[in-house]
Each structure stands twice: as C-alpha cells, then as structure tokens.
C-alpha cells in the first residue's frame, strides 16, 4: 500500500512534523511512504520532499498512490488546491487551527492564513474520505462543519525516546549551578494564543508575593518578532528572572525538563498539548488552564485551572505545586499513570485500524 503525507510546512521541533515522521515509520511497514511539504526547513532536505516534486513525479491524472494523508493546521491556497485536484483518496489529519483573532494585532497576514485555513477545511469536506482528529476537541470542530466520518487517534508520541536522550551538558550545568530557586518551565511556541504574557504576569505575582527565588524558563520559537520583543521588554520592565530561551535542540529541551520543578502553561488554544505529555514523562507536575483540548490531554493528571484570566490564581497554583510536597507527589504519580494513555504502540494501532476501514 502506498500512502504519502502532505504538510503545509515542516520544521524541526514542530509537533506536527514530528508526528508525520512517526506516521512515516509506521506507514513504511506497509509500503512506500513519503512526506511532502510546501515549505520546509533546509535541514530537512532529503527527509521531506517539496510539494512541487509530487506534481512532477506524478503527472498522471490517475491515482498513483492509495491514499494521501493531509495534515491540516493552517491555510495555504497552493496546498489546498493541490489536494482538491488530486484524484487519490484523502485522509485529513486535523491538528486544529489557531484562532486568528489572537494574531490580528501582531501579524494580520498570518491571521488571514489562519482564517483561510478554516474556510479551506470546509471546501475540502467533499474531497475527504475520512478525517482523523488528534483529540475529541478537534473531532467536535470537524463534525460541526459537517465532516461525516470523523475518528479520533491520539498523536503518536515517543516520549520514551526523549527520556533516553542525553541532556545538553552546558544547559544542564548552567541550570544546576546558576539557578538555585525553583524552575517553572513553559514549552510551546511564543505566540499570543499560548498566552505567555499571562504567564509572565502570574510569575510577577509569584516572585513579588510568594517565591522571590523562582525562575521562569520559556522554551519555544517566537515566530512573531514583535510579540516576542514585547514579551522580552515586559519581562525586563518587571525585572523578572525569566529566561526566554527560544528554539532549543532536543538535548537542551531534555536538560530543561530534567531541571524543571513545575511545568506551567497559560495557553488558551491547543488541539493536543504535547509538552504536557512530555512533562508527565519527565515527572514534572503540570499546571494548565482548562481551554480547548487541554483538559483532554491532561486527563486529570495535573492541576487544571479554570478558563478565566486570573494571574493571581495561577501564581497561587504555582506556589502550591512548587512547595507542597504531597501535592507534587500526587501530580507526578498521576502523570506517570496517565502516560499509558499515550502509549505509542496503542496510538499506532488505533491509527492503522482507522486506515484499514477504508483501505
């Protein structure tokens, strides 16, 4: 069976790209399987093929593959017209599309792409044989816009491979020798819908009123320079001990998880929250707000705060999880138990059984 995957963009450290590679390993057990992307990191040349190459190699209007898997996460007219015109059967994997409103002030063009992504989802509806959502939350969105056959399969995550990774020595050394206080870690792109601003506000209250020795680390790419700059100035003006680390290597990320005392995110939009699962794997107790698919990913194995924007409540939660030994133990134990729900073999089996239904 020949199944290829189509992505709008592929980059290192991106959860969707990572999941496509995981799927590729699985699909290659049953036949040829390549990954095509419209845009991708030069470092991925060879592993990811340009979308234009697909059209060149397969000039035929007749189906040349059994299935095409399209990962939807943002709008891109080239990709969506390509998908609409291909004769192969299409499986849509839906990672969710960030809400455009958060981006309007910082990057209207990007907001336009996101808005376009939602419209394209509707246009693709007639062409998609089956949709697979990575969470119930995403599935509900697809059903809402009229997708008839929507299945749920969790992302294939191999956190065990991450646990075996050797932490970056310099980062680990710096964290061990230069930072005495508790470390609060956020992992995720520094984008408005992830609300790093709210996290900084909560952290400000935490260090002012409860834990002056606390350290905040924000790990993740900041693709909107203006927004990232604003976060940096905000942290500086409040005189916060906040390390905005930006994009890091897998080894550096492991060093951060190993040193972290608490994982915390203020995000209000996630189709599936990968860093939460990673934190569970590293035995780091997690705090998040009950938005979008977060409660689903967390599955009761973390401190789930209500949806409201309350930095004081968040600071209190951070202080409680850092200081209360028994609460920490409880959350860590629950996290470890929760990991079984993301057992990669189960996720693979679920995905394959969905494909088998239409193959």
């Amino acid at each position: 069976m020949e199944i290829h995957q189509i992505l709008v963009s592929a980059s290192q450290g991106d959860a969707i790209t990572a999941s496509a590679f995981e799927l590729q390993r699985l699909l290659r057990r049953v036949g040829p399987s390549d990954i095509y992307a419209r845009y991708f990191d030069p470092s991925l040349i060879g592993e990811v093929l340009p979308l234009a190459a697909f059209a060149r190699r397969r000039r035929s209007r007749r189906p040349t593959a059994d299935l095409l898997i399209f990962h939807a996460s943002i709008g891109e007219p080239d990709v969506s017209s390509f998908i609409r015109e291909r004769p192969e059967r299409i499986v849509l994997v839906y990672h969710n599309i960030s809400p455009a409103r958060n981006f309007l002030t910082y990057d209207p063009a990007f907001a336009g792409l996101l808005e376009g992504g939602r419209r394209e989802l509707e246009l693709l509806r007639g062409r998609v044989t089956m949709a697979i959502a990575v969470s119930d939350y995403n599935a509900a969105e697809l059903r809402e816009i009229g997708y008839p056959d929507v299945r749920v399969a969790p992302l294939i995550l191999d956190v065990r491979a991450m646990l075996n990774e050797v932490p970056d020595a310099d980062t680990a050394n710096h964290l061990a020798t230069q930072i005495p206080g508790p470390v609060f870690l956020f992992v995720g792109q520094l984008l408005p819908h992830k609300r790093p601003d709210l996290l900084l506000k909560a952290f400000h209250l935490l260090v002012t009123y409860a834990r002056p020795d606390a350290q905040l680390v924000l790990v993740g790419a900041g693709r909107l320079p203006r927004y990232r700059q604003a976060l940096q100035s905000f942290a500086q003006e409040l005189n916060l001990r906040a390390w905005i680390a930006g994009s890091v290597t897998a080894q550096q990320l492991v060093a951060f998880y190993r040193r972290a005392d608490v994982f915390v995110t203020a995000s209000e939009h996630e189709g599936f929250c990968v860093p939460l699962v990673e934190a569970m794997a590293f035995g780091v107790p997690a705090i998040a707000r009950g938005h979008a698919a977060i409660p689903e990913t967390m599955g009761g194995a973390g401190l789930l705060l209500p949806e409201d924007d309350d930095p004081a409540l968040m600071a209190e939660a951070m202080s409680a999880v850092a200081d209360d030994r028994s609460l920490r133990d409880e959350l860590v134990t629950a996290g470890h138990r929760r990991l079984s729900a993301f057992e990669p073999d189960n996720a693979r089996a679920t995905f394959l059984s969905h494909l088998a239904d239409i193959a």
Binding site: T105, Y106, D197, L200, K201, H204, L205, Y209, A210, R226, Y227, Q229, A230, S233, F234, E237, L238, G300, L303, L304, L305, P306, D310, P311, A312, L313, E316, A317, S319, A320, D323, D324, R325, S326, L327, D329, E330, T333, A334, R337
Partner: protein, 441 residues
C-alpha cells in the same frame, strides 16, 4: 505560601491509587482550585495584592505591545509619499517607442486614433486613484492620531500616576502628589473632550481612592490598649511625674501651653500643679478619655492638625514628650515650621525623644514600641529649630543607662589609656537614652 503548609485536600488522597472510596479526580481539582482562590482572597485581605494590580499588568503589557506600532506607521507614511510622487496620469507617459522599423509611427498613429478612449480611461483611473489615495491618507491619519504627541504626552502622565501608585502600593508615600498629578491630568483631558480618556482618568481616580483605603487599612491597629502598653513600658504614674518635673519647670509662666501626644496626661498634671494653663491632644481616644476623666483638658485627635488650627503667636509653650520619633520626616519639618508660627515671641518648645546617638537605646527602648517610625538626631532637630528662627536652642541629655549596666572603669593607677578607652566605649554604647530639646522663640 510557606513550605510545608500542606493542602488538606491534596494530602492523603491519591496516595493509594487503587482505593475506590476517594473522590473523583475532577472533584478534588475543584476543591483544590477553591482553596487556591481562598488563598488569593486571603492575600488580598492582608494587603498583598493592591487593588487594580492585574489591570495594571494588563495595561502595561498592552502599552508595550502597542508602542511597537510606531515604526510601521512611519514606513506606511513613507510609502504613501512615494505613491503621491507616482500620481499624475497622462497619455504622454505611455511609451510609444519601438525597436521594429516603422513601429514608432504605427504606435503613434494608433494612440492618436484611440486618444479619446485612452483619455477617458485615464480619467476614470485617476478618479479612482485619487479616491484610494484619500482613503489611505485618512486611514493613516486615523491610525496616527492616537499616537500623536498629545496622546503620547497624556500616556506619559498616566504612566507617571501609575508609577506613583505603584510606589504607594509598596510603601507609605504622600498620596497628595498623586492626587495633584491626577487633578492636572483631569484638566488636560477635559480640554481634549475625549470620552474614552475621561473614562480612563475617572478610573484612575477611583483606583487612587481604593489604594488610600487599602493603605489606611494597613495601618497599625493593635487590639491591646495603649494604656496597658504605657503602664508596662513607660513607667507608673508616679514615676513619670518624678521623671518630668524638671522639664515641666521650663514652662512656668508660659501659659497657654499645648501638649501634643499627651498620653495619660502626666505632663499636663505637672503643668496644672505649677499653675500653668495647658491643654492636650491625644491620637488614642481611650487615652484622651482617661486624661479627660481626671479633669485635664484633653481632646482626641491629630496633634499636628490641632496645632495648625491655633491662631498664629497664640501659644506660650508647645510640648511633645516621646512623640517626634513616631512622625515621618515630612511631619517633623512641618511641626517645626508650624511651631515657629504658633508660638509668640519668647514662647518655648519642649521636646523629649529617644537619642539615636545612644546604641543602648536601640537594644532597649526604641523597638519596644512598634509605632516608632524613625528616631530624630539631636543635631538635626537643633538645626531645624535654628533654621526656623528660634533664638535659643538647648539640648538636655536625659535618662543615662543605669551605672550597673555600664562597663567598669579601671582604677586611676591602671593604665590611663585603658581608662580612657573604657570611658569612650561607655560614651558610645551607653550614651543617655533620651534628650530634651528646649527652643525659645
């Protein structure tokens, strides 16, 4: 939260994951969140989170994010300028040259033939372009307006008020300054007739009042009675009469005398015994009543306000016994200038306070009273009175530490230097604990 301060909900549950009788996870989380909310409330009540702090943080971030818009507007303006220079459509700007032999002539002939149509199309395009340009210009103007210099100036002032408020939140500062700036801001905003700014400034006013209320609440309000405190630490009634008899003698013939912070009224009693008409003001209403019950003329209230209410040159004496160390630096300077105004020529000021030159006093008396703000140095206080125009300013050293607590001096036959050293050490460590300042107007 202090380490080890465990949450009752969390501790104990989920320790045994296979126990069936524990509440479901969502319920525990709800309880936990409710507890966290309670704790936030508790902090608020303790004055930790000043009112409006969260809004301040939000606005702070918004301001930072919004400031970055300016460079983009500049860019937009530049492009708009470039667009203007490209305006001006005319058939003559349509190139008619050609590399083909005779081509130019053909082009000319064709353009001549369709000149009317070309002109018509160009006119329509010009009309459209003008309209687009007008829209663009007004859009940029509208975008620019909120960032114009008037607005930036106002934002600066709002920042100033916010900054003062945040100082206010962190410690005691003079809210009157914030009020002043706010008043000025109100005036300017009224001139601008902007409802939105008006609303924001009104909001600031409300916030300031809330902060003041919060500040008042933070003030020291002990549950114990000041009378008991005085008995415990100042000495018995008779001891105090004995202790202050000599100071009271300074005021003979100086009626009328006003005592600020008259406490239980011992000093007024001494004055009354000496036949000097005197009245007192006491902040603590219980103490004021106690003194009043003994037939002394004492009212409850703020002494500085009471002094301000007196007519100029109407007093023969002003007394403050162990009071100035409770005042802020600003209150002390105000007290001195007011005393200069209210005392008639020849009037006397008598102040007794702890002596900061005595290290002993800090180990013993000073921090016993939680309401002591800062000790006032005799050199500084004398300077203030001289500057305020008092003629004679004298210091009397009072309350030397008991001899049996001082270091033993060696006999004269031992080394003379040793003796001198011990004397100096005694002077440093065991200087008199109080001093009295007497100033004559």
């Amino acid at each position: 939260m202090a380490a080890g301060d465990t949450l009752p909900v969390a501790s104990g549950c989920m320790k045994a994951p296979d126990m069936d009788d524990q509440p479901p996870a969502w319920q525990r989380v709800e309880q936990l969140v409710a507890q966290l909310r309670d704790r936030v409330e508790q902090r608020r009540e303790e004055g930790a989170y000043p009112p409006g702090l969260e809004d301040d943080l939000d606005e702070h971030f918004q301001r930072i994010a919004a400031h970055r818009v300016l460079p983009e507007l500049e860019e937009l303006n530049k492009r708009l300028g470039a667009l203007d220079s490209h305006m001006g459509f005319h058939p003559s700007r349509i190139p008619s040259g050609s590399r083909v032999v005779g081509g130019t002539a053909v082009h000319r002939a064709v353009s001549k033939a369709v000149a009317r149509q070309t002109q018509g199309v160009l006119e329509q395009v010009m009309e459209f372009a003008d309209a687009v340009r007008a829209v663009l210009q007004s859009t940029v103007a509208a975008l620019e307006d909120p960032f114009g210099h008037v607005h930036a100036d106002l934002v600066g002032q709002v920042d100033h008020v916010l900054e003062r408020m945040s100082h206010f939140e962190r410690g005691q500062i003079d809210a009157t300054v914030a009020h002043g700036t706010l008043r000025e801001l109100r005036g300017r905003v009224e001139e601008l007739e902007s409802a939105e700014l008006q609303r924001q400034v009104d909001g600031l006013g409300v916030r300031l009042e809330e902060l003041e209320t919060a500040e008042r609440r933070r003030r020291f309000q002990p549950w114990f009675s000041n009378e008991r405190f005085e008995e415990e630490f100042r000495g018995s009634h008779d001891e105090l009469l004995e202790r202050y008899r000599d100071l009271a003698a300074h005021l003979e013939g100086q009626a009328p005398v006003l005592e600020i912070g008259s406490g239980r009224g011992e000093f007024l009693e001494l004055l009354s015994d000496a036949g000097v008409a005197a009245s007192g003001v006491e902040l603590d209403p219980d103490l004021a009543k106690l003194a009043g019950d003994q037939g002394l003329d004492v009212v409850a209230g703020n002494g500085l306000t009471a002094l301000a209410d007196r007519d100029d040159a109407s007093l023969g004496g002003i007394v403050l016994i162990q009071v100035v160390e409770h005042l802020t630096a600003q209150e002390v300077v105000e007290l001195v200038s007011m005393a200069a105004a209210k005392l008639r020529p020849g009037g006397k000021m008598v102040i007794e306070t702890v002596n900061p030159q005595s290290l002993y006093v800090f180990a013993r008396a000073f921090y016993l009273d939680p309401t002591h703000a800062q000790p006032v140095h005799p050199g500084y206080l004398s300077f203030l009175f001289r500057e305020a125009g008092f003629d004679g300013v004298f210091i009397e050293w009072r309350s030397p530490p008991p001899d049996d607590e001082r270091l033993l001096e060696l006999s004269p036959r031992s080394a003379e230097t040793m003796r001198e050293n011990v004397r100096r050490l005694n002077q440093l460590l065991f200087a008199p604990q109080d001093y009295a300042l007497i100033a004559i107007r």
